[in-house]
């Protein structure tokens, strides 16, 4: 199975998890930072994807 969205989501989740646990010490802060980072990855990638749509290489 080749799902670009699935691999991107997995990557974003794992990187966000490591960053959140590495950079924050309190569980609530870790959760907040992790969710924000994950959302940033996903929304950023989707926004870039849409921006590139009208300009194919």
């Amino acid at each position: 199975m080749t799902s670009h969205l699935l691999y991107m989501t997995l990557f974003a989740f794992l990187v966000s998890l490591v960053f959140a646990v590495l950079l924050k010490d309190e569980p609530r802060q870790q959760l907040r930072f992790g969710v924000l980072t994950f959302a940033g990855f996903m929304l950023g990638a989707l926004a870039l994807g849409w921006l590139m749509y009208p300009f194919p290489l």
């Binding site: 691999y7 997995l10 990557f11 998890l17 490591v18 646990v21």
Partner: protein, 130 residues
């Protein structure tokens, strides 16, 4: 006083913790009793490395004629023990024609680079800076 502090060699325990943290992702944190962080790093980084291999990613050779390949090799090596296990098992040939090849490389390289940050964090904790 300041000059003495900045030129002082790292203590043995910091070096040992750094080595443990590099070899086993999260191992430095586990050693220092930070069990939750250590287990999360161990699980997430080993999973990322394994996913990279299963997605046909490549363990890059140390070829410095192509600088990016050489840098990617260092990033792979930074993953620690999983790198040596995969290398000994003959994994990580990389299938360039596979649709998931670049995803595999992204997972493998990111696992190594994230482990580098984890090693530095473990060294900071061992040195009493955190």
């Amino acid at each position: 006083m300041r000059a003495e502090a900045t030129t002082r060699a790292p203590s043995t325990s910091v070096v040992l913790v750094g080595l443990a943290a590099w070899l086993v992702p999260g191992g430095g944190h586990l050693w220092m009793g930070r069990r939750f962080k250590g287990l999360v790093f161990l699980g997430a980084l080993v999973l990322m490395f394994a996913l990279g291999l299963s997605l046909q990613g490549r363990l890059f050779p140390f070829e410095f004629a192509q600088p990016l390949v050489g840098l990617a090799a260092f990033a792979n090596l930074a993953a620690g023990l999983p790198y040596f296990v995969a290398w000994a098992a003959g994994l990580g040939d990389g299938q360039v024609i596979a649709a998931t090849y670049e995803y595999g490389n992204a997972f493998l390289i990111a696992a190594g680079l994230l482990n580098t940050l984890v090693v530095l964090d473990a060294c900071d904790i061992a040195a009493g800076r955190k």
